[in-house]
């Protein structure tokens, strides 16, 4: 059983703001007013772009249902831990649970805020995975993309956990 390692903080306030538990369903993940500029599809099939449309989900960070550290045989549920990645708030490590090839839960198991161990550690959980009506497509995230993936620990560690599941 993996121990959750707690780390001291130098900027507690910043961290509380950043990792505060979002309870509102409206708020955090929706596209901004800048809008989604979806281009017209290529007229002459010049490219081999078989790219689909984006589906935008609102960002609810509900509590996850992960049972950390279990690898039950019958349900073929497995957990994979990503690399521990350093962020400016401390180290982050992500654990994913995979059932039948789908990511069913994702959580931060090394949490940079040493004073919030009783807080929802699943505030890192991918909201799209924890919604009631999750489509088959959105539960099977294959890769992650983000502007800050090289700087922020979570996406690097999440991608790392996805990698570990297929090594």
């Amino acid at each position: 059983m993996r121990r959750i390692t707690l780390w001291a903080l130098s900027t507690l306030t910043t961290l509380v703001l950043l990792f505060s538990y979002h309870t509102s369903t409206g708020g955090s993940g929706t596209a901004s007013a800048a809008g989604t500029s979806v281009q017209a599809p290529a007229a002459a099939g010049s490219g081999t772009t078989d790219s689909g449309t984006a589906s935008t989900d609102s960002g609810t960070t509900d509590s996850g249902t992960t049972d950390s550290g279990t690898t039950s045989g019958s349900a073929a549920s497995k957990t994979y831990d990503g690399d521990t990645v350093q962020t400016r708030w401390g180290p982050v490590q992500v654990r994913i649970t995979v059932v039948d090839g789908k990511i069913t839960a994702s959580e931060a198991i090394v949490y940079p805020n040493g004073n919030h161990e009783d807080e929802q550690i699943n505030s890192f959980a991918l909201p799209v995975l924890n919604q009631e009506a999750v489509s088959a497509q959105s539960a099977s995230i294959d890769m992650v993309s983000g502007a800050t993936v090289t700087s922020e620990g979570y996406l690097s560690s999440l991608q790392s956990a996805i990698d570990q599941a297929h090594l």
């Binding site: 901004s32 589906s55 960070t61 931060a108 890769m143 983000g146």
Partner: protein, 261 residues
Amino acid sequence: MSAVTTRVDSGPSARSTAQPGSDGAPRRAFVEQAMGLPVSVHVRGDVDRPEVGTAVDQVWGVLHRADAVFSTWRPDSELMRLRRGDLCAAQVHPWLAEVEQLCVDAERRTGGLFSASFDGAHHDPTGLVKGWAVERAALHLRHVPGISWCVNAGGDLLAGAGRQAAASTWTIGVEDPRVPGSVAATIPLRVGGLATSGAAARGAHVVDPRTATPIGRDGSATVWGPTLLWADVWATALFVDPDEGAVTLEGADPAYRSLVL
């Protein structure tokens, strides 16, 4: 840069621990630290054939070579030596000239929203090199029979198929730029590139070439289309100016789609 490889040897016994994909098809991942980034290569299909391992090694080789040529973090890179005058233009790797020309093209096509020389002092191709290098590296994967593949180089993605093989769909989770650790959108990618540009938490900021000042706004722009090189360029352009960038992109290359958050 030192390479940290977490790749297991090929062979059926090693594969027994790998989790198959959601469609039950075999899937295998390789990871390497290259160009200062974690780079993952995932393959589906005939994942155990020896050509896969060979091609992945060649992918890493290209990325390491590109780092040795272009890195602005290594004083011994050919770019940095060229800047210092230790090498002249005729002595450096021909890749430098190729990328420099692409930067000129990119600045023109984006109407100046992307530029490799915004400060007038140094030519810095960093914003374009990553996508360009991944595409060159992935050529090796295109020669492997019986697989589909997807490369993730620190958030820059390129997907495709091997020789006489069918592509598969990779579900890409795009991070919500305002809620770290959450996914705002999923985009299915079969063939082509996908890149996201936005406010970085630390390190290099995206600079508006028109004012030579860093973009202070949060948010991100994701672009996907036929090539990663141009997805990367346009993602940067659309983050610099979402409105003007979207209009310019639509006129310049409608094969690319975008999502601005």
